[in-house]
């Protein structure tokens, strides 16, 4: 195994950071969307469903472009929301986080929904009649009981995040040490004639990480199953 230079270590750390942060940041949103889709009836439900699932269907590069158009200096959100607040997102690791979160979002929502659909409605009704408001019920009943789905959703997004390339490279650029995640580094190595070994080594790291996540997920699953 080739010994990595600091650039590769930084890419690995950055990939982990981006995936972890993207997962954590999107969890509340994923939860809210899953909640709405499972328990609420409202106009535009189908539209929300379509919107959430779009990142699955669109090529990641296109998602990257869309995010650039939205978040960039002249973009709608960038110009009117981020600039006044003095926030720059694009070309920073935060942009990579957003790209990762958006691309993994449909998978996360899907998992959490499945978890929620398995929560017995009677338990929710019991909580309500025992005096818990809906927010209280969410925190004390729905979240603990759909925890498997939530963990599965997080694991999926994390895993997908480790492989995210297309959207990230457009909004975050490919700046070593700043926004260069593992997939971007791999891409760079594959495009130089003698980068194969390094590309392969980074692939192995990526595989290793995903195996760890998968095993961790299985382990958590079993622990939760046991507790039930």
């Amino acid at each position: 195994m080739p010994i990595f230079t600091s650039a590769e270590y930084m890419a690995i750390l950055l990939s982990l950071k981006v995936s972890v942060v993207a997962t954590l940041v999107s969890l509340p949103f994923g939860f809210v969307v899953a909640y709405l889709m499972t328990y609420r009836q409202f106009r535009g439900k189908v539209a929300l469903d379509v919107a959430v699932n779009l990142p699955l269907t669109l090529p990641p590069v296109v998602i990257g472009y869309i995010l650039l158009l939205l978040l960039g200096q002249k973009g709608f959100i960038g110009q009117h929301l981020l600039q006044p607040l003095g926030i720059t997102l694009i070309f920073t690791w935060k942009a990579a986080v957003i790209a990762t979160a958006v691309v993994g979002f449909p998978l996360m929502v899907r998992s959490i929904r499945l978890g929620m659909e398995n929560v017995d409605e009677r338990l929710i009704q019991a909580a309500r009649t025992l005096g818990a408001g809906w927010l209280d019920t969410i925190v004390t009943v729905i979240i603990p009981l759909s925890f498997r789905g939530i963990v599965a959703g997080a694991a999926l997004m994390f895993a997908r995040g480790l492989g995210e390339f297309g959207a990230t490279i457009v909004v975050a650029g490919n700046i070593p040490g700043v926004t260069q995640t593992i997939p971007l580094a791999i891409y760079e190595y594959t495009s130089s004639p003698d980068g194969d070994r390094m590309a392969l080594a980074l692939c192995l790291v990526s595989i290793l990480l995903s195996v760890v996540v998968l095993l961790l997920h299985e382990y958590l699953n079993r622990r939760i199953a046991k507790a039930d």
Binding site: L68, L69, G72, Q73, K74, I90, F91, I169, V170, G173, N174, I175, P176, Q180, Y187, E188, Y189, T190, S191, S192, P193, G195
Partner: protein
């Protein structure tokens, strides 16, 4: 017959035009064109992709092809040259490499994977401004992405090939051309592959690419022909 072209993505428009011209004159000839990053194209050919002619955006990948005995050695020739320019939105004040150091953000192609980026990095070193620029650089996946950033004002300007600046840029304009002494000549080598060498039509098109007629088209698109 059918001719399979594997061409670096930056040559797309010009090769499209040349192949259309050739097909018009030689009825029965059709083209299958695969545009992509030079490295990806080389790997594809190495793994058996059906290619007759390979046009690379740099010399290294052509050398790789030669080393792997994928290109017909004798046929390796220079197809065109290009030059490096700095493009930015009209209001940006930059007329030389040293002016660039005063700007905030500059896009270049990722030096390891994009030749234009490698040349730009080389130029910064030669001009002695590499340290000053270090924190200002945004590395893009390819030249077109650099231009997209410049066009949209995400960066103040981008170092790109002249041809790309002419063809792709919308609001960005060429602000100056990087003097040739700062970087090696941008060369687009071309070659017949081993299989292409055995195809008469491919050889015919290969010769056409070296013809005066082809050079005129190249020049029209902003490439240098000698």
């Amino acid at each position: 017959g059918e001719i399979n072209l594997f061409v670096a993505a930056s040559m797309r428009e010009v090769v499209n035009e040349l192949s259309a011209d050739f097909a018009m004159k030689n009825s029965g000839v059709t083209f299958k064109k695969n545009y992509g990053a030079s490295g990806a194209l080389a790997k594809q050919i190495e793994n058996g992709a059906p290619a007759d002619i390979f046009i690379s955006a740099n010399v290294e990948w052509m050398d790789y092809m030669k080393k792997k005995k994928l290109a017909d050695d004798r046929s390796v020739a220079t197809f065109a040259y290009n030059s490096l320019v700095f493009a930015g939105r009209p209001g940006v004040k930059a007329a030389s490499l040293h002016d660039v150091t005063k700007l905030e953000k500059i896009a270049i192609g990722s030096p390891k994977s994009v030749p234009a980026g490698e040349y730009a990095a080389e130029a910064f070193r030669k001009a002695g401004i590499d340290k000053q620029l270090e924190k200002k650089l945004v590395m893009a996946k390819d030249v077109r992405e650099c231009l997209l950033y410049a066009d949209r004002g995400e960066v103040d300007g981008a170092f790109v090939y002249k041809t790309d600046a002419l063809q792709v840029a919308k609001s960005a304009k060429i602000l100056f051309t990087v003097p040739q002494q700062y970087y090696p000549r941008v060369t687009y080598p071309m070659a017949l592959t081993v299989t292409g060498g055995k195809k008469a039509e491919a050889a015919g098109f290969y010769r056409f690419l070296q013809s005066a007629e082809a050079k005129a088209v190249l020049a029209k698109h902003g490439f240098l022909v000698k």
